[in-house]
Amino acid sequence: MTISEIEAEIVSEFSLFEDWMDKYNYLIELGKSLPVIDPKYKTEQYIISGCQSQVWLHAEYREGKVVYTADSDAIITKGIVSLLIRVLANQSPKDIVEANLDFIDTIGLREHLSPTRSNGLNSMIKQMKLYAVVFQQKYGERS
């Protein structure tokens, strides 16, 4: 699926929820089911700064696609990271760099985050894209 197809899928899932409670419960579930990151990446080097809770993000390049793993000590944050990973993982660096991720505003994620958390969200996206930029430069335009 393309990034925008996955975004559309998430938007339709969230449209089923009546109120923020349901949304949070869903994020909590997602957080709990996020695949674990290799403990060797849970170090200072992989921490995303700008988040109030700790978030570790790792990415690698496999056959033209970017594979992300992440973790956080806060479960709702983990749920949010897991949504981002669902959208961006296994896509090409070029598509990741160009993604505008409208779904975040459409599902009302930002309005439910305090500004500091919203900054954290921006930092996460920035970091994920940064990895893609690096891979793009390293492996050339064909990616």
Partner: protein, 405 residues
């Protein structure tokens, strides 16, 4: 009977709804709400009295100057200072502490000297000393805590040496709620003639402070944490220290005479009040103090302790909840964590239920490091809060726990 209904009616913001629920405001340690009397004082000032002070001879200027200086006298009385000129208006606690760190540091602290603070300080009473010590090549030492979150006084005695030049300590911890035995700390320091600065940001709104009976050398606080506007605060300093210390900022008001080659400085308190001051803030602060005195400091303290006891007992009824800060003498705030739950997760859900609490490190990162925790959830109470609101907090905490575990 505490006139809670009447008091609540004085604070317009308490009628606000958030997420369609009546607001429960438990972030009073961050800033308190303002009674309509204070709000009114500010608009009256701009509607009828606005004028720059200490400069003109015209009617409004004289009137505004009088009101400003009356406020200074009211604050002198409120904290039991000896002279009105020992009251310096600042932007808040932070600026008051920075002023002393700069001016006192410049004059009295040099390489090899030592300053003592504690591990429970707000960054405002920590970073200025740390940076000043780095600059002057002095050493900053930290009083450790006991298990219950109170200061280890014997350890404090051991930290004092021939080289100690100053002790800077908070009166009440904004994280743990501990009321420190300031009088005792000052007495111990004074045995060796070491001056003491007290960070009173969390105390003046909740308990009677008398700087002369405490014998504090410096005492700092912020208006916005005591029902007054933001951007106004106070540095109290004993006359002889303020006389001896060099000015902090240069400009208008703080001068006596300016020549092309040099300047002579104004007398106290103006020497430390460069530039046009925050007149509306000062008048608002005066009104807030009147409001508190009319309500009665003892009654405020008694009522808030009742809230504290009730909240402590109710929160401890939640399994897996741990309170950080269990000292015998505590102000009306509670920091807690729930086992296995990150404070941000809980804070987000509690907020959605209409209860404003604070989560995070509360500007005390060294304390978090010391306690090995990422942060806490903090509920801090003011005299307009009620037990029913505490019930709402408890409900919200239970909901958060159920969702997150």
């Amino acid at each position: 009977m505490f006139p809670i209904e009447k008091i609540r009616a004085d604070f317009p913001i308490l009628q606000t709804k958030v997420y369609n629920k009546p607001l429960v405001y438990f972030d009073n340690a961050a800033t308190t709400q303002k009674p309509k009397q204070v709000i009114q004082a500010i608009s009256t000032y701009y509607e009828k009295e606005n004028c720059n002070i200490h400069r003109g001879v015209h009617f409004l200027s004289v009137k505004a100057t009088e009101a400003y200086e009356e406020a200074r006298c009211a604050i002198r009385d409120f904290i039991g200072a000896k002279h009105a000129h020992e009251i310096i208006f600042t932007r808040g606690t932070t600026e008051a502490i920075n002023l002393v760190a700069y001016s006192f540091g410049k004059k009295y602290i040099s390489a090899g000297d030592e300053v003592i603070t504690s591990v429970m300080e707000h960054h405002s009473n920590f970073v200025p000393w740390q940076q000043m010590c780095l600059e002057q090549k002095a050493t900053l030492k930290f009083i450790p805590l006991l298990e219950d979150g109170s200061l280890d006084i014997p350890a404090f005695r051991n930290l004092i040496s021939e080289k100690t030049r100053l002790v800077a300590i908070t009166h009440i911890s904004n994280v743990l709620g501990t009321i420190n035995p300031i009088e005792k700390i000052i007495a111990i320091a004074h045995e060796k003639d070491i001056p003491v600065l007290v960070d009173g940001a969390q105390s003046v709104a909740h308990t009677t402070v008398d700087v002369q009976s405490l014998d504090a050398d410096f005492y700092c606080f912020s208006g916005h944490k005591m029902y007054a506007p933001m951007g106004i605060g106070v540095l109290y300093g004993k006359e002889h220290w303020l006389e001896e210390m060099p000015p902090y900022q240069m400009g208008g008001e703080m001068i006596k005479e300016v020549f092309f080659t040099h300047t002579t400085f104004n007398e106290l308190p103006f020497k430390f009040e460069a530039g046009t001051p925050n007149v509306e803030g000062v008048l608002g602060l005066h009104t807030a103090i009147r409001y508190m005195l009319d309500t009665g400091m003892d009654r405020i303290e008694g009522y808030e302790q009742e809230l504290l006891d009730y909240a402590t007992q109710r929160l401890l009824g939640i399994e897996g909840l741990k309170i950080y800060g269990t000292a015998k003498h505590k102000a009306s705030l509670i920091s807690f964590l729930m086992h296995g739950i990150h404070p941000y997760d809980a804070g987000m859900i509690i907020d959605k239920l209409g209860v404003a609490v604070r989560t995070g490190h509360h500007c005390a990162m060294p304390l978090m490091e010391y306690l090995h925790i990422p942060g806490t959830i903090r509920a801090s109470f003011a005299f307009y809060n009620t037990k029913e609101e505490i019930d709402r907090l408890v409900e919200a905490v239970v909901t958060a726990k159920e969702m997150l575990l």
